[in-house]
């Protein structure tokens, strides 16, 4: 038996927890950190062509600079949640994970509205004119929808802490 803070678990259970944590943490690392941090390279590989610098600038502006860092923080938080599930630390860890996820959602939606500026004449060659396009996508309602799960997660964490007390 192994003691995890206030919980005794068998070796097999610990191994399962570690394995699940590693898988979920790895997936989180891949989805929430690796993809946004390497979006240009991934898009280039998928498209099979080198993305021109002007288009790269537009794609880069879709990703908030802090987003990969927050995504990177999600991976260990998920791993720890999987590992310490059922212990006293699970409640605070659930709250922390929910808050990090809420921050991630907020950054992903650029606070509710994404603005992109694109020099059309540079993106589309051969135009005999200078054109710039700016697009604003207001997604506050959609962001609010995605903030509901972390909000519920925080509430769940509070209940977990109350239960452990």
């Amino acid at each position: 038996m192994v003691r995890l803070i206030d919980l005794d678990v068998s070796g097999a259970s610990l191994a399962a927890r570690l394995a699940l944590g590693a898988i979920l943490g790895g997936l989180a690392f891949l989805v929430f950190y690796y993809v946004p941090a390497n979006l240009l390279g991934i898009a280039s590989n998928l498209a099979g062509v080198e993305i021109p610098p002007q288009a790269a600038g537009v794609i880069s502006s879709l990703i908030e600079p802090a987003l990969p860092s927050v995504g990177l923080a999600l991976a260990p938080a998920i791993f720890l949640c999987a590992l310490f599930r059922g212990t006293k630390a699970y409640g605070p860890l659930t709250i922390a994970l929910s808050l990090i996820f809420a921050a991630y959602v907020f950054l992903f939606f650029h606070g509710g509205a994404i603005s992109v500026a694109a020099p059309v004449d540079q993106l589309v060659g051969g135009l005999p004119m200078e054109l710039s396009l700016s697009i604003r996508v207001d997604m506050a309602m959609l962001m609010a929808l995605f903030l509901v799960p972390p909000a519920l997660g925080v509430a769940k964490g509070v209940l977990l802490m109350m239960k452990m007390d």
Partner: protein
Amino acid sequence: MRLSTGIKLFNALIVLTVVAASAVTFLVAMNAIAVVSSLRVGEPSFNSSGSVVEISFPISVSNSGPFDVSDIRVSADLKDEDGGLIASASSQPFSVPAGARGAQRSVSIRIDLSEIPQERLSALFSQARNLTLSASAGAALVPFISVSAHLSGSIPWEPPVKDFELGEPVLLGYNSTHLVASMPVRFENPSDISVEGSVNFLLVDADTGSEIASGHLEVEAPPRSEFAGELQFSLRLPENTTALMLEGRTFRCNATLGFKIFGIQVHSVSTPVEMVWDPPVASPYLGSPSVTPYNSTHSVFILPFAFTNANKLITLNGSVKAGLVVGSSLVAECQPVPVHVPPGSGFVCDLEMLVPNWALSVPGTLVLSMDTQLGSTSLEVPVNG
């Protein structure tokens, strides 16, 4: 026990909301893609009324998704370098409810030529410049997403009337009161719009400012073409046409050409025009007369006469004759000599008349008369016996 139930409830809610948020995102994305891909812009229709030109683009859009697409709006302004409005386009905001198929709307571009100041219109038609385009569009997938886009930029404008040239006028014909002339008109239309209208021509005397000729030329210059035409007009002759027979003259005028499109004058060009008139009787020459006895009372008087028809248009027809006047009496006169002198040719003749011998010894006046289609003229030369 209650806390455990609460935690389970929260777990279920979390799963439910994650699934719901993901489903909504998927549906919104699919809805947006379906609406955008169903968008069709039809053939534009042109409608002009007075000075207003309206170009309407029919739009057809379907919405197979579960959400209403609302507040769809399009607007655009085209301005010149000084910020003056040239054209505007707009559509009334409209919605496409969920499930709607082939909803029809139109976006109209409206150009009111009468609202554009004359100098701005003229500059647009004759000078290359940069126009500023500002366009906005927006739509919302209620209540989750609203999109607004703004396009702005500078568009190079090629003038539809470029390198306008008015060629040298050419005289085509004449009558007793008018000269008929033509002037070549040429310009390039490097733009993408068609120039269809008319050119009205007004010629005013550069000295007096009075109108002396007017003309009209229909113009049709498709995009990226060169227009060449002949502008014909009648030029009123001066009162004294006899002077035109002996004297060269330069008609100095100001030509004003106004381009009219949809009945609105959009561009005008003023340019000085000179038309040179060369006299049909140029460099007249009277040779030394010779006298030979004819009989006891009369002698033969021979007067050589020559001139050149310097006019490039007129063949001079008529007759020339000479007479000798002593005191106030005509004492001798020759038979009229026919004159037929094509442009650029010379005329030479000997005018012969029988003169009483007594008239050769007294002072008199030799009168040379010419009758032509341009009028009559005479030349008097004193003769001292």
